[in-house]
Amino acid sequence: MSQVAQTGSRPFDDVFREEFERRFPPLFRYLDRLSGDPDLAADIAQEAFIRLYRRGALPLNSGSWLAVVARNLFHNARSKSNRRRRLLAREEAKQLVLDASPSPEADLATARKRKAVRSALDSLAPRERELLVLRYEGYTYREIAEILDLKPTSVGALLVRAKDALRRALGDCGDATP
C-alpha cells in the first residue's frame, strides 16, 4: 500500500530538480494543448510542482500524480472564471490578424490548420479530448487510467473511439488534413 517512491539517501531537492527537468515540459504541453492557453498552462504546471516540492517526497508515480493535481487545478480554474473564454476570443482575434497579414503562403496554411485542429479538439467530448492529449504526450495507458479515473482495461477502447471522433471532427475541417 506504500505510495512513496524510494529515493534512497539523496537530498529531496536533488530528486525534485531531476523530476522538474523531466516532467515539466510534458505537463506543460498537456495543459497547453488541453486549454489553448499557455499562460494558464504555465501557472498550473508550476503550481503542481510547488505542491510536489512541499510534499517533501515523491509519490510512486510522479507523472500521473502531477497530472492529476494539475488537471484538478485546471478544472477548478476553468469553472471559476471566464478566463479561458476571453483568451480564446483573444486568440481568435489574433488568428484573424494573422490570417489577414501578408505572411508567406505556408504560414497562412499552417495558421489555418492550427485553427482547424483547435476547433476539432474543442468539439470533442472532454474525456475524448483528454485521452488524446495524454496519449500523444506519451502517457501510458496505466497513467491515463489513473489520471482520468478510468479502468485500465477500458482505456484502449476509449482511445479508439476518441481517435474516430477526432478523425470525423477533422474531416469537418478541411484545413486540418495532414
Binding site: 506543460f28 497547453d32 503550481e47 516540492y53 490548420k113 489513473e146
Partner: protein, 240 residues
C-alpha cells in the same frame, strides 16, 4: 490468432502489450498482409495526429526548478508567520475554546493568497486553513470521505499540540471534545498533520478506513514512513 482489431493495434504500437502478447501479434503480422497494412495505416495516423496536435504547442516557459522551489519556500514563510500571529491571539484570549471541552482550541483560516493567483490571472489555489489543539485521550481526526486526489502527510512533532492544515482550498473543520472532523467532500487539497510524540492515543480515519494510529510509542499506519520519518498517505490509494 484472429485478425487484429483497432484496440489491439493501438496497444501493440504503444508498447502496451506484455511480452507474450506482443510476440503473438508480431507472429501474426509476419503472416497476415491485411493486418500488416492496417498496422502501417495506424502508424501513419498516429504520426499525423501527433503532428497536428504539435501545431497547438507554444514554447515551453523558461522556468527552472529553483524558481519553483523559491516560490514554495516563500509560501512556507508567509504561512508560518500568519500561524504564529494566530497562535499569539489565541494565547491572549483563548476565546474560541469549544464549550464543554477542556482543550484549548483554535480554528485559523489562513488566507495565503499567492501573488500569481488572482481571479484574473490564474487559478485560485494555495489557500490554507487549519486547526490546532492539545489532543484529548483518545483523540480522533476524521476525514469525512476520501478524495480523488490529495495527500495526507503525517509528521511526529515534539510540540504538545496536534495540528491539521490544508494546502489547497481549506475545507470546513468541526471541532468536537475528542477530535476533529474535516468536511472534505469534493476537496482535492493536501493536508499536513502534526502528531505530538507525547500523545497517547491518536487515530486518523478517512471515511471508514483507519489510516494511522498511535498508542503510546506504537504506530500503525497505512504506509511505511519515508526517510524523514513522515507518513505520506495518498487518498487515491485508499479503498473507496
Amino acid at each position: 490468432m484472429r485478425h487484429l482489431d483497432d484496440e489491439l493495434i493501438d496497444l501493440y504500437l504503444g508498447g502496451e502489450l506484455g511480452e507474450a502478447d506482443a510476440r503473438a501479434v508480431a507472429e501474426h503480422l509476419a503472416e497476415c498482409d491485411a493486418c500488416g497494412r492496417r498496422v502501417e495505416a495506424a502508424k501513419d495516423e498516429d504520426r499525423d495526429i501527433g503532428e497536428l496536435l504539435g501545431l497547438l504547442d507554444h514554447p515551453i516557459p523558461q522556468v527552472g526548478a529553483a524558481d519553483v522551489m523559491r516560490r514554495a519556500a516563500r509560501r512556507w514563510r508567509v504561512s508560518h508567520a500568519v500561524a504564529a500571529g494566530v497562535a499569539l491571539l489565541v494565547v491572549a484570549g483563548a476565546a474560541t475554546a469549544v464549550p464543554g471541552s477542556s482543550v484549548r482550541t483554535w480554528v485559523a483560516r489562513l488566507l495565503e493568497r499567492p501573488q500569481e493567483t488572482t481571479a484574473e490571472q490564474g487559478p485560485a489555489v494555495g489557500v490554507a486553513g487549519g486547526v490546532s489543539m492539545i489532543p484529548t485521550d483518545p483523540f480522533e481526526l476524521v476525514f469525512e470521505t476520501s478524495q480523488a486526489s490529495g495527500t495526507v502527510l503525517v509528521t511526529l512533532v515534539e510540540e504538545a499540540e496536534f495540528a491539521v492544515r490544508a494546502i489547497g482550498r481549506a475545507p470546513a473543520y468541526s471541532v468536537a471534545p475528542q477530535g476533529v472532523r474535516v468536511e472534505n467532500a469534493g476537496s482535492t487539497a493536501d493536508y499536513e498533520i502534526r502528531v505530538p510524540r507525547s500523545a497517547n492515543n491518536i487515530r486518523i480515519r478517512v471515511g471508514d478506513s483507519i489510516v494511522f494510529t498511535k498508542q503510546a510509542a506504537s504506530i500503525v499506519a497505512a504506509v511505511h514512513p519515508d526517510a524523514g520519518g513522515r507518513y505520506v498517505i495518498e487518498f487515491a490509494a485508499l479503498p473507496r
